[in-house]
């Protein structure tokens, strides 16, 4: 069976599901268009009539002063304002009683002049009882209002662009595309959750069984099989193995019985059978299989859904949180509002950074599932509280609960994976763990932004609370029994102060941590979590747009990280990937020096995603490569513990630094300054790491 067999099936299924979804969305869009057209056009005509009445009042006022109707001053400017201030209007004109255009602004429709001169329209100008008339001419809608004092003067026409309904729906289309992308990821996630986890583990077990039997291992496994196609298949294999074991046991029993009773010549006659039994025993294994972590693949897969749901709850808030804080802002003496806006993000990151190293041991003591349940419950309370927050102070409290819950769930889920994996499948376990997080980062901010724009920040937080509740329910379905793989028996611990201090003054360690890991996190949280949402809204855009931007970042990570990880591993020049990644990240914000257009902002996020994706996988692998001496002295856990702690402190520093920069240099300045800092760090890292030789993985592993 091919390794990618199931994934090919998934992609085919996802393709079909996406096709159905696209068709369904097309149907909804078509009917929505009809609804929009039927309902919006009359309202827009009414608005045009109101505006026309206002212009008419000015015209009548001017003619009242004796200015001839055909020589009015400033009509052009008034009509221009009408067009500029109302994007749904494409043309406005003032005509005389013969339908001749005296003043006009905007893009004149081809059929306009002919329409103005039609008897029907001219009759409106002369009819003393007519208020206003509307007509669908060609693709446009014409609203005509007669102007008269004591006698008819002419007609004011406002043309509503026939494409304005399309334009309104086009704005929805961007969100619909986001929904499509998110649907694709949801599909793959659900395929894995609802069918794939069992299918993958079932087929995996089948493959494993084939390998075992090929190697002569016919030991029986006493497992309960699911009542589906794979379960039935495995039951049949189990039955075949059981029959073989019964046969073997019977033969062993018979031989032993005969040997026990036999003497002399008879015993000699049994020798060939005894030798054959020895040969079978040497070549084949019968009896009961040892229960090990290999069989826990199914339970390993089960962590993905609750983890995805929980991380999604938090990611939903990314695109609008700073703007929500802005709404609840209170004056804190001595602190600029920009810094105050960054406080909840900073506090969240700080709690996660400081909490994680110590929560590993705690979750080990009380049990991974229980720790996750407690964490998810605390975060649910945090989301609920955030939705109902009165002001910044209680929001800080609720966000702290979210952070504690996040740290607990993250660490416990990581522990869950560690407990159920050995050396042979740990990478696969962490791919599953990281995959759930990455998919949540793609789906969360974009959907969160859409929700925030439409139902408001508070209700969006309530949605996060509901998703967190769903994660609690999913966690509750995880196996209650704790397991430990042989490689995870050693209790985990947080780094000690002595180790932190020693590593802080270690040049090699700090080159990597201070010049690469921390700046990478500073620019991530500073730009993506703080600057992008605030800047986009400050230039008149929406939280949904901020969400789309953050989705671009996440999609880049999903697409590039696996590729860059394998390439950097293969090339053994991980430092180059880190350097290039940091330099690209550093260049990203500098783009705003060229222009602050939306396309450039897109480029900023795109480059940032690319840069981070190139460097992120190589960075942590470089710790083992560059700090072998430190690992030998302080141990692997301590070095990585301090590395992660400092990296996460970078997460907390990002919003603080960004907010301070905004105070002094504004948003653009902050983007540029953070990027320049990262660019400098990238260049410094490139220079500083030139002396380090690449180390083969095998050597790293040996150390």
């Amino acid at each position: 069976m091919e390794k990618n067999y199931l994934w090919r099936v998934y992609w085919r299924l996802a393709g079909v599901i996406m096709l159905c979804v696209v068709l369904a969305l097309a149907v909804v869009s078509y009917f929505s268009h009809r609804v929009f057209e039927a309902e919006l056009v009359p309202e827009t005509q009414q608005k045009a009539a109101t505006i026309a009445a206002s212009v008419r009042a000015l015209v009548i006022k001017a003619t009242g002063y004796g200015v001839p109707f055909a020589s009015l001053y400033g009509v052009d400017q008034t009509l221009r304002e009408v067009i500029d201030e109302n994007p749904e209007f494409s043309y406005a004109a003032l005509t005389d009683l013969d339908g001749k255009v005296l003043f006009a602004r905007g893009q004149e429709p081809a059929e306009a002049r002919a329409y103005f001169a039609t008897p029907k329209v001219l009759a409106v100008s002369l009819d003393p009882t007519a208020s206003w008339a509307n007509e669908h001419v060609g693709k446009n809608y014409f609203v005509s209002q007669p102007i008269r004092t004591d006698k008819p003067l002419g007609t004011l026409h406002i043309v509503i662009d026939g494409k304005f309904v399309e334009n309104v729906l086009l704005e929805v289309m961007l969100d619909v595309v986001v929904v499509l992308v998110v649907s694709l990821f949801f599909t793959l996630e659900l395929l894995n959750f609802m069918a794939g986890a069992r299918l993958a583990s079932g087929l995996g077990e089948f493959q494993h069984q084939v390998e075992r039997m090929r190697a002569g291992d016919f030991t029986a496994t006493a497992r309960i099989r699911a009542n589906d196609e794979i379960g039935r298949l495995l039951r049949r294999i189990d039955a075949a193995v059981d029959h073989l074991n019964v046969r073997y046991e019977f033969l062993v029993g018979e031989l032993e019985e005969k040997l026990r009773k036999a003497t002399g010549e008879r015993r000699e006659a049994l020798k060939p059978a005894a030798q054959a039994m020895e040969a079978v025993k040497q070549r084949l294994r019968f009896g009961s299989a040892r229960k090990d972590s290999d069989g826990d693949e199914m339970n390993l897969n089960r962590i993905r859904a609750p983890l995805f749901a929980f991380i999604l709850a938090e990611e939903l808030t990314r695109s609008y949180l700073p703007n929500y804080v802005n709404q609840l802002l209170v004056v804190i003496p001595g602190l600029s509002p920009q810094v105050v806006i960054g406080l909840p993000i900073m506090l969240f990151m700080l709690i996660v950074a400081l909490g994680q190293p110590y929560l590993g041991g705690w979750s080990e003591r009380i049990g991974r599932r229980r720790a996750m349940l407690i964490g998810a419950f605390i975060a649910t309370v945090g989301f609920g509280g955030s939705a109902a927050a009165v002001n910044l102070y209680d929001l800080l409290l609720w966000r702290s609960l979210c952070a504690i819950g996040y740290a607990m769930v993250f660490v416990a889920a990581q522990g869950y994976v560690l407990d159920r994996t050995g050396h042979h499948n740990r990478a696969q376990g962490f791919a599953l763990f990281i995959g759930a997080i990455m998919v949540a980062t793609v789906c969360g901010p974009s959907i969160g932004g859409i929700l925030a724009d439409n139902i408001g920040y508070r209700l969006s937080f309530a949605v996060s609370a509901v998703v967190a509740v769903a994660s609690v329910l999913a966690i509750a379905r995880l196996p209650a029994q704790e397991v430990r793989s042989p490689t995870s028996n050693r209790p985990s611990r947080g780094p000690r102060m002595r180790e932190i201090t020693a590593l802080l003054f270690n040049g090699r360690f700090m080159t990597l941590t201070g010049l690469a890991a921390m700046p990478a996190k500073v620019i991530l949280t500073g730009v993506c979590f703080y600057l992008v949402p605030l800047y986009i809204v400050s230039i008149g855009n929406t939280s949904a747009m901020a969400g789309r931007m953050l989705m671009v970042y996440a999609v880049m990570m999903v697409l590039i990280v696996p590729l860059s990880a394998s390439l950097s591993d293969a090339s053994l020049r991980r430092d180059r990937y880190v350097s290039v990644g940091l330099i690209i990240s550093g260049i990203s914000g500098l783009l705003l020096l060229i222009s602050d257009s939306f396309l450039v902002l897109f480029g900023v996020v795109f480059l940032l995603g690319l840069g981070q994706a190139l460097s992120i996988a190589a960075q942590s692998a470089l710790v083992a490569e560059h700090c072998q001496e430190e690992i030998r002295i302080y141990g692997h856990d301590a070095v990585y513990g301090v590395y992660r702690l400092l990296e996460r402190l970078g997460n907390a520093l990002g919003p603080l630094l960004a907010s301070l920069l905004v105070v002094f240099w504004g948003y653009k300045g902050a983007f540029v300054a953070i990027s320049a800092l990262v660019l400098f760090c990238g260049l410094a890292f490139t220079v500083a790491s030139r002396g380090f030789d690449p180390v083969d993985d095998a050597e790293t592993a040996k150390s």
Partner: protein, 253 residues
């Protein structure tokens, strides 16, 4: 129907429900915000006329709270659009100085109005009251200092009625689309997973004959042929070893 097929179909339905639901949700809220925007801009047009009148009075040196003609202007403008329920002009403390509804003069506007008006970065702002929508304009003097606020209350029925009607139609379209997907997706999925199911069936069938001593069946051209062949060979090999053992035991008597 196989349980795996049922699960795949369930996935399709859940994803379609999410996508169609989100699309309907987006279209509905877009409609609501667009119609609200159109109605609000219509109301604000009346407001702009009143603001011009106030500005003209301020520019000739009158105090903001001493514009004697304003109540009449408000009453007149109230009639210019049937949507309007009332027009209030209030000061920076939220006290109504002028109103189309005379008894309201001297009362305080809800705090939310004042907060929204003060927080708004533009001169125009809007908020919601219990039964009305409120569109407002911040009135500034020649030094760009806010001297007061103009609030136009208008009936929310118009927007709510239009939104409810459009919402109903969009919901109907979404349900139709979902019903279509619910019919089409399972059929399409059945076609796509036919091969996968055939592979599983041949695997299951082959597993049912693992212990047969008959010659191996011809390969079914499934993805699992290799694995099944290996299984058969392994079992056959083990059985032969046990057969030989049996024979030797029998030979020993």
């Amino acid at each position: 129907m196989g349980t795996i097929r049922v699960r795949f179909i369930l996935v399709a339905l859940v994803v379609s429900f999410f996508a169609v639901g989100m699309s309907a949700f987006l279209n509905y809220f877009k409609y609501k915000s667009t119609i609200s925007g159109i109605v609000k801009s219509r109301v604000l047009l009346v407001g702009r006329g009143i603001e011009s009148s106030v500005q003209a009075s301020i520019q000739v040196g009158m105090q903001f709270n001493e514009i004697g003609t304003l109540p009449e202007v408000l009453k007149r403008e109230l009639l210019s659009d049937p949507l309007l329920r009332g027009i209030d002009v209030f000061d920076a403390q939220g006290v109504i100085i002028y109103s189309s509804d005379r008894p309201r003069v001297g009362q305080k506007v809800p705090d939310a109005w004042l907060q929204t008006a003060e927080r708004s970065k533009a001169t125009e702002w809007s908020t919601e009251a219990a039964e009305d929508y409120v569109a407002g304009i911040s009135v500034k003097n020649a030094f760009d200092l806010t001297v007061g606020f103009l609030a136009l209350r208008y009936a929310r029925e118009e927007v709510d009625r239009a939104a409810a009607k459009a919402g109903g139609e969009i919901l109907a379209a979404a349900l139709t689309a979902f019903a279509g997907v619910a019919v089409v997706a399972p059929l399409a999925l059945i076609i796509v997973i036919r091969r996968f199911e055939r592979d599983l069936r041949s695997l299951e069938a082959a597993a049912g004959h693992l212990e047969d001593r008959t010659p191996a069946q011809p390969a079914a051209a499934s993805a699992f042929d290799g694995a099944i062949a290996t299984l058969r060979v392994s079992l056959d090999d083990a059985n032969k070893s046990l057969d030989q053992l049996r024979a030797k035991l029998d030979a020993a008597g």
